[in-house]
């Protein structure tokens, strides 16, 4: 009896399996190529959180949004700002009034025209407290923007206005030389009022989402893939080669690499460190690295009595870190060592460097020892300090190496503490228990201000407890300039002050790292790591 049941069970299992295979067998998307549909498969990294351009906050969401939407302006494949929904624009002499003329053929994916009114609605929606946008302050340069975010003024008090359906006027409260670059980014993308009013919170889902870029959101399988299809109403649709773009969710770099090697991905979001040396030998032409606007650093909390009171100690700590060894031996992916906080490659800016960059290692070490002793430490009285970093193999290896460098040069043993990312961030921002911490900073826009403003006394991102009146004054003077070459001098001087104070120890500059299949054409390296799918093409020679 029972044995018969066991046999029946086994049979049922086999049948179930077969049935499941048959039911799910609907023909793979591999058939696409046969129909002449050009498909691009990209790894996007961790899952994007929303396709609402105003509420999105991660790089991953922004990558997909750049395919779906188009702001007033956009970047060309070479990294220049060019017209997007706007075909031309004009800035007043005082730098306070921006006028944009929209393209006559700018269209939503519904076929309706994109109007200046749409942008007015969208900009107001971004700053409206009810939207609860992460980047609500993105356009804080616009008249009244901050007061609206703070709930002090209604959204319609914002300094934007539609002069006529194709002409948009934006008024700023102070000259902002990088304002145009802000208009290439998702927080300033237009959203379709009618679809928001119809669908409410669900407006950004596949099927509901109306967009004005080269693609529309066809499908989104959570945890797996976002599928985009050509937007036939896009004004420049004729120039788009790729019909379907699949952004695959790839949270694990090593698994992403497997998928790439299995031919399932044409572009990866990153390259795992451990695979770098081998890939360099096996597929040198497919590795694409380029400088990125980001810096990996060890910050110091100046509220800590020893760090805050002793500039000499801070300099000694920075001097003793051998950045070349770190990037060559520990990180080993081709990142350049950092001797400034603002990365090279930022527009209208030449970063000043830490003075000891040109000193020989022996001289650096000798001076580090002297400063360390000057600050009152020695073999009998070693520094006791904690170094915090978030859990990750790379961060841990760097922290251990730095700990060893400090022990060798200065003779003290730093306590290493690793924390989950959100715990570290919460601690760093509270500025209570942190001493030295690892973090990184990336430029939201291509301007030195995006890096230097976090050290201003009143910045919400000032996690260093740094207060320097001279520094604040230099930033304010820079902000008042409309002349880019003069503004730049103030900013460079500000960074010089910052570096001399040794508030932060820059370690290395980020690079973008992708594997790009040989059949992908049109890939151009750029500091913002923007690679819009509409600029790419697939040529399969096989």
């Amino acid at each position: 009896m029972a044995a018969r049941r066991v046999i029946a069970g086994i049979l049922a299992a086999v049948l179930l399996l077969a049935l499941a295979l048959v039911v799910l067998e609907r023909g793979g998307p591999a058939d696409d190529t046969a129909n002449g549909v050009v498909t691009l498969n990209r790894g996007v990294g961790p899952e994007p959180e929303t396709m609402d351009p105003h509420r999105a906050k991660t790089v991953q969401a922004h990558i997909v949004l750049h395919d779906l939407f188009e702001g007033l302006l956009r970047y060309s494949p070479g990294g220049d700002i060019v017209g997007g929904a706007a075909e031309r624009w004009q800035v007043s002499d005082d730098g306070l009034e921006y006028r944009f003329w929209l393209r006559a053929d700018a269209r939503w994916s519904t076929g309706e025209p994109v109007t200046a009114e749409d942008f007015v609605y969208s900009f107001r929606r971004l700053v409206d407290p009810a939207t609860a946008a992460f980047y609500a302050n993105h356009i804080s340069a616009v008249v009244n923007a901050d007061a609206i975010v703070a709930g002090e003024l209604p959204p319609d008090a914002l300094g934007v206005e539609a002069a006529n359906p194709r002409e948009l006027v934006v008024r700023l409260r102070q000259p902002t030389p990088y304002f145009l670059s802000l208009l290439t980014q998702p927080p300033t993308f237009p959203v379709d009022r009618a679809s928001i009013e119809r669908h409410g919170d669900a407006f950004a889902r596949p099927g509901n989402l109306v967009s004005n870029g080269a693609y529309v959101l066809a499908d989104w399988t959570l945890g797996s893939v976002l599928e985009l299809e050509r937007n036939v109403h896009y004004w420049d649709d004729a120039a788009t080669s790729i019909d379907v773009v699949r952004h695959f969710v790839t949270p694990e770099p090593s698994n992403e690499l497997y998928r790439y090697r299995a031919g399932e991905l044409d572009i990866t979001a990153t390259i795992p460190s451990e695979a770098f040396p081998r890939l360099k030998e096996e597929r040198p032409d497919e590795i694409r690295t380029a400088p990125l606007l980001g810096v990996y650093f060890y910050g110091m909390n100046l509220n800590h009595p020893e760090l805050g009171g002793k500039r000499a100690l801070r300099e000694a700590l920075s001097l003793a870190i051998d950045r070349e060894t770190l990037v060559e031996k520990v990180v080993a992916r081709g990142e350049p060592p950092a001797y400034s906080f603002v990365p090279p490659g930022v527009d209208n800016y030449e970063p000043p460097r830490l003075k000891f960059e040109d000193e020989a290692p022996a001289d650096r070490h000798a001076r580090a020892k002297r400063l360390y002793a000057e600050a009152g430490y020695g073999p009998d009285n070693p520094l006791e300090i904690e170094l915090r970093y978030n859990t990750s193999e790379t961060h841990e290896r760097i922290a251990i190496a730095v700990q060893e460098m400090w022990r060798e040069v200065l003779g003290f043993e730093a306590t290493l503490i690793n924390e989950e990312f959100r715990v570290l961030v919460a601690n760093v921002q509270a500025m209570e228990i942190t001493e030295i911490f690892r973090l990184n900073w990336t430029g939201e826009y291509n301007d030195a201000h995006a890096f230097l403003n976090i050290f201003a006394s009143d910045s919400s991102s000032n996690m260093f407890g740094y207060k320097n009146e001279e520094y604040d004054a230099l930033l304010e003077q820079a902000a008042a300039q409309t002349d880019l070459s003069r503004r730049r001098l103030y900013l460079e001087e500000a960074e010089r002050v910052l570096l001399a104070d040794h508030v932060v120890m820059p370690i290395y500059f980020y690079i973008s790292k992708h594997l790009v299949s040989p059949k992908v054409r049109g890939w151009r390296d750029n500091v913002l790591d923007y690679h819009y799918s509409q600029h790419l093409d697939i040529v399969d020679d096989r």
């Binding site: 029972a2 066991v6 048959v22 591999a30 929303t50 407290p129 998928r259 959100r422």
Partner: protein, 312 residues
């Protein structure tokens, strides 16, 4: 008599489950909120006004108890709330999308594991210390000791990257072929475990008095197994199946991550890392309910399998 006892037993247990579930929810809620760092923390600190707007939108500015009351009130109406992370979706939708995928994979791997595990276990018990037994036990030991985070990438490396027979990821195809590697990765350790359980309890049962009596009556081994030994030998397996089914439905984080499967496991882990309070709570509630329900089911089934256990 027996039926009525079983029903009363089930009802009592269900009533007891309500406070259990309530405390699970309360504790999970408090633990999530006690974890340092909030859902909107990032290295880029928000300007205070923008941060206040977001907190207000998600009611994070209210006292914790008010927040719990609001959440629990929603639960009673069957509303698991909006996801803190995925602004376009509600928690119910996120779970509703992931559960069938995890359940399908889990059910398939469990059925395969049961069939293969029980068969191999019985065989090993009957041919104790033979070469077949050694082979099966050796396999089981390997299956249990090699963690799935090794097995799964290895399968991908061999069958997808090197041989190119099967897809490396879930989303790269719609065909059923994408089920094969994940199901194998999921079922291997289960086969091993079930096989060991079956073998152990079978050996024990075969040595018991009633089997000896049956043997003395001249029955052959197969009829003894079929009619007398198999049912009692399944008891330990049954108590294992309750939690195993719950675990399998809840998805395997590792397998889901390796193959990019949109299941519950990775949703849960990402939810915890992102401090997506409502999403984590939703999955905890689902999982706790499953465990409670399945354990109850197992206890009731026990009564049918073993005449010595009766619910009175």
């Amino acid at each position: 008599m027996q039926q009525r006892g079983a029903i009363r037993f089930a009802l009592t247990r269900l009533l007891c489950a309500i406070p259990t579930l309530f405390f699970v929810i309360l504790i999970a809620f408090l633990m999530m909120h006690a974890a340092p760092g909030g859902p909107f923390d990032d290295e880029r600190a928000l300007p205070p006004d923008a941060a206040a707007n977001i907190e207000r939108a998600y009611h994070l500015d209210e006292p914790l108890l008010t927040q719990f009351g609001r959440y629990f009130g929603g639960l009673l109406r069957g509303d698991l709330g909006p996801s803190f992370r995925y602004a376009d979706y509600t928690v119910a939708e996120l779970i509703g999308g992931a559960l069938p995928v995890s359940a399908l994979l889990g059910a398939m791997s469990l059925v395969i594991a049961l069939a293969a595990g029980v068969a191999a276990g019985v065989l090993a018990a009957l041919k104790r210390n033979s070469i077949a037994d050694r082979l099966i036990t050796g396999f089981a030991l390997t299956g249990i000791s090699i963690p799935v985070f090794i097995v799964a990438p290895l399968l991908v490396l061999v069958f997808a990257v090197r041989l190119g027979w099967l897809p490396a990821s879930w989303a790269s195809t719609d065909s059923g072929a994408r089920l094969l590697l994940p199901v194998i990765a999921l079922s291997l350790p289960q086969i091993a475990y079930i096989m060991r359980l079956t073998r152990g309890s079978m050996i024990e049962v075969l040595a018991s008095d009633f089997v000896r009596t049956a043997r003395a009556q001249g029955l052959d081994t197969w009829s003894i197994v079929r009619h007398h030994a198999l049912k009692p030998a399944m008891l330990p397996l049954l108590s294992y199946m309750g939690p195993a089914i719950a675990a399998v439905l809840a998805g395997s984080v590792v397998v889901e991550q390796v193959f990019g499967i949109p299941g519950l496991g990775q949703l849960f882990v990402r939810g915890a890392l992102n401090r997506d309070y409502t999403l984590v709570l939703g999955i905890v509630i689902l999982y706790a309910s499953l465990v409670i329900f399945l354990n109850l089911l197992v206890d009731i089934l026990y009564g049918f399998l073993d005449p010595r256990i009766r619910h009175r």
